[in-house]
């Protein structure tokens, strides 16, 4: 620690009345002036406004400040702004610290001005104690290998690869299967306009195949990845052949698989009980059986039945398929069938034993689920029922499709999680017994085909990939982005990006957008040609290090290795500053930049002193 004189400047923000309305800011400012090494303290209406920032810059020069404290909203949104301001005035940005007196003080203590003011004084005292021990840091520049690997050749991965390649960077597109296309290969058509899924896929695949910057590696997997942003050494395995490669960035697009509803709704007991994806395959391969009645059951295995989440795309997919059947059944039929494909539209639904005769009233009750008796004049028709908890046809077009489905007499029957439809197979015939919530009666239908809308789930090897790349999985097994809103396609680890269904259910437009977004993020270090990681990293004092290796064991990013002297050494560009090694080191040889034991204790102990002044 250097012996230079500490000259701390403190800027306290009113945030209009957001802070000043609940905290006595002038009193806090006067108090701060009494703290050690504080040579200047002021308050601003809005510190983040131009005049506030100008006052920081001018005060740094005028008062020769070498530490700056801003007490305002939250560092999560505003620290970078003030750090930039310090830098403009020639002050190293690591000599800045933020005190949160809005989100964690004025806004949560709106009825206790006196106590909130005391707390603000404490927080300022803590911030000043921290500021006194801050040290300037240099950010090191590290070169970048100008190439990318995209793991997964589905629509998201291909879109990412294309976008990176179009920017002029070489891409290895690694696909586990023997052809490109991913999950979409299973599909017959894609909504809204029943575009042929195969044709759509072919368009993308052709573009990938003809792009000179993309090297497609089929039957291949990335089996090892070492390094850090800009400099990864990877090993690609192609049918047992290993190849070492160097890339600067990694895009993860490993996709999804369908949940298999074992033991749910009679799945497995009849070939005519299928999942949505199996249904798509039947249509695609033109193997659809002869049908007069079809039931879709939504939320099978999702939303608490097994998986906790909503798979969100299945409502739209079921609606699409229902519409397809309603409008286009003739053309979807298997080629083996000829003539009238649909039985007469005798209502197949009957009240179960003891049910009252209420048929006559149904037509007049209105609502989508009551309309199956209309349209009889069109001749033979297909009965289509979607059993749902609630239809989530999110987005403008899907809502229109939902309305259209209702017009086409697709019946939407609601069920509750406590009272789910019961499927049984009676000598090959399918039976659904269900409670009709609107009619308040038990009913039965005997469809020819039951389609179970199951969620998409994480891939079997997600855990393995997560361990290999050191990127996190969320509770549902999907990959977890750095921030759901602000950094939706980044991992917390720089240099690795995520897109498509491996991070959660998404439809094709979403997967493609994410692929392009991830490509755009991944191209930043490639285009820049260097990376400059935040200097939060750990430092090992090799004099003190005993070479026990505890730190190497706990480092989540393999950023520590033993050097030729058997001492621990940190790869600064790979370190993210979590401090696990620092907390682990038995020799206290690891120093966390600006989060050292000494600094944390100084800050926390300052909280325990009394504010008298």
């Amino acid at each position: 620690m250097s012996d230079e004189e500490k000259r701390i400047g403190v800027f306290i923000c009113h945030c209009g009345s957001n802070i000043a309305g609940f905290i006595d800011v002038p009193a806090v400012t006067e108090y701060v002036k009494t703290l050690p090494d504080v040579v200047f303290a002021t308050r601003n209406l809005y510190t983040c406004a131009d005049d506030g920032l100008t006052s920081i810059k001018e005060s740094i020069k005028e008062h020769k400040l070498n530490r700056v404290v801003v007490a305002a909203c939250t560092p999560r949104t505003h620290a970078p702004l003030f750090q930039g301001t310090c830098q403009e005035a020639g002050l190293n940005k690591y000599l800045f610290t933020f005190v949160n007196i809005r989100d964690q003080c004025s806004w949560v203590h709106m009825k206790e001005k006196e106590k909130a003011t005391e707390k603000a004084k404490d927080l300022l005292r803590m911030g000043v104690a921290r500021a006194r021990l801050l040290q300037a840091q240099d950010e090191v520049k590290v070169g970048v290998t100008s190439a990318a690997v995209v793991i997964g050749g589905g629509v998201a991965g291909m879109s990412a690869a294309l976008s990176i390649a179009d920017q002029g960077f070489p891409v290895r597109l690694v696909e586990k299967e023997s052809e490109l296309g991913g999950f979409v290969r299973n599909l017959s058509s894609v909504y809204q306009e029943r575009e042929d899924a195969g044709a759509l896929l072919k368009t993308i695949i052709d573009r990938v195949r003809s792009n000179p910057n993309i090297e497609v590696l089929l039957n291949s997997e990335v089996i090892s990845a070492d390094g850090f942003v800009g400099n990864y050494d990877i090993i690609i395995d192609t049918k047992g052949q290993e190849r070492n490669d160097k890339v600067g960035v990694i895009v993860l697009a490993t996709g999804t698989r369908e949940y298999i509803p074992k033991g749910l709704y009679g799945y497995g007991q009849s070939p005519n009980i299928v999942t949505l994806t199996e249904f798509e395959k039947l249509v695609k391969e033109r193997k659809l059986p002869k049908l007069s009645s079809v039931a879709f059951i939504q939320c099978v295995g999702s939303r608490g039945q097994d998986k906790s989440y909503c798979s969100r795309i299945c409502c739209n997919v079921s609606l699409k398929n229902a519409m397809n059947l309603a409008e286009n059944y003739k053309n979807m039929r298997g080629l083996e069938g000829t003539g009238a494909v649909v039985e007469a539209a005798a209502p197949k639904e009957t009240p179960s034993e003891g049910g009252e005769r209420r048929h006559g009233r149904r037509g007049r009750r209105g609502g989508a689920e009551e309309s199956e008796e209309g349209g009889a004049s069109e001749g033979p028709k297909l009965e289509i029922v979607i059993f749902n908890r609630d239809i989530m046809a999110y987005g403008v077009d899907h809502e229109l499709m939902y309305n259209k489905a209702r017009e086409k007499k697709v019946r939407l029957v609601r069920y509750t999680p406590k009272n789910i439809p019961k499927v049984s197979v009676d000598s090959g015939k399918l039976v659904i017994d269900y409670w009709h919530d609107t009619l308040q009666m038990q009913r039965r239908m005997t469809p020819d085909l039951i389609v179970l809308a199951t969620p998409v789930t994480s891939q079997a090897d997600a855990k393995e990939i997560s361990m290999m790349l050191k990127v996190p999985l969320g509770q549902d097994g999907f990959f977890l982005e750095a921030h759901v809103k602000l950094r939706p396609v980044d991992f917390a680890t720089d240099g690795i990006y995520v897109c498509g269904t491996c991070k959660g259910p998404a439809d094709i437009p979403e997967a493609v957008s994410q692929g392009i977004a991830a490509a755009s993020r991944a191209s930043i270090p490639l285009a820049r040609g260097f990376v400059q990681p935040e200097a939060l990293s750990a430092f090992v004092d090799s004099e003190v290090c005993s070479g026990c290796g505890n730190c190497i064991e706990v480092c989540p990013f393999t950023a520590i290795r033993k050097n030729e002297h058997g001492k621990a050494e940190v790869t600064i560009a790979a370190c993210k500053g979590c401090g696990n090694c620092g907390a682990t080191c038995p020799e206290n040889a690891i120093f966390m930049n600006n989060y050292s034991d000494e600094q944390l204790l100084a800050e926390a102990k300052a909280a325990l002193q009394e504010a008298k002044g």
Binding site: T74, H109, M110, K115, P556, T584, A604, K605, L608
Partner: protein
């Protein structure tokens, strides 16, 4: 004790709990003013000794809050947090300070309301316990000093960092240690380290006999003698003088 306003230090991880605390603010969930938050990148940064040091300084309560297990920004940092806080808790129990003054919570970035609830309930608990007894009781200060020392020892630190591996993947003989077994192992080890630290701390203040140490620590003399022998073998404790027939020992390294 209605006018008692405790001072509670809360360590928040940058990615989940700090964001959760911000969200509580954005959503205007009100909670008591008694907490003083310190932001760290990951809750794993908080070694047991940091927590104990704050109790030694008279903190009425300390809370560590991180991401939910499985959601850690640093993959599995919070698994280590769990053990570190447990270690502090084990040691706190040994010192006699109420372990309820220490709390571990998982608060995600989306759980603003939970954060305010957690804080409200913890402040209530600490108010019930009353002010920290530490600063009024030199014995507790000495004990907490010993706990800080114990938490810093090689054995404590190493056992803390090996848990994830040993309970999941197993040791070099591929023996996987059960979590309960690990708890027990670490509790025993910690108690050893704590007693030794206490002997060193007490005998750094003045030269002490085994009987005096046993009395002070509240352990049988044979057990204290074992520790004294072990510490002497490591040159951490030396014979100061013999009074009559009673040897008195003094620590060769500074106590806390």
């Amino acid at each position: 004790m209605s006018d008692f306003e405790p001072k509670i230090v809360v360590f928040l991880c940058n990615w989940c709990s700090y964001a959760g605390a911000d969200l509580a603010g954005v959503s205007r969930y009100q909670y008591p003013t008694n907490i003083r938050a310190v932001r760290v990148m990951c809750s794993t940064r908080i070694s047991a000794h940091i927590v104990l040091e704050l109790f030694k300084e008279g903190a009425d309560g300390v809370m560590v809050s991180g991401c939910h297990i499985g959601d850690c920004h640093y993959i599995n940092g919070n698994l280590f947090t769990k053990r570190r806080v447990k270690l502090a808790d084990d040691l706190l129990k040994l010192t006699g300070v109420e372990p309820e003054r220490l709390r571990l919570e998982w608060v995600s970035a989306a759980e603003g309301e939970k954060y305010s609830q957690v804080i409200t309930s913890f402040v209530k608990k600490v108010k019930e316990l009353g002010p920290s007894p530490v600063l009024k009781d030199p014995k507790l200060v000495t004990r907490l000093g010993a706990a800080v020392m114990a938490a810093k020892y090689f054995r404590s630190k190493t056992l803390t960092c090996k848990e994830v591996k040993l309970t999941a993947k197993g040791n070099v003989y591929e023996e996987v240690i059960g979590p309960k077994e690990y708890d027990l192992m670490i509790e025993r080890a910690i108690e050893d380290e704590y007693q030794k630290s206490l002997i060193l701390t007490l005998s750094s203040q003045e030269a002490r006999s085994v009987i005096e140490l046993a009395k002070e620590i509240g352990q049988p003399t044979d057990r204290i003698l074992e520790y004294v022998v072990a510490l002497r073998a490591k040159n951490m404790l030396a014979l100061d003088r013999i009074e009559g027939t009673t040897p008195r020992y003094r620590a060769t390294i500074g106590g806390a």
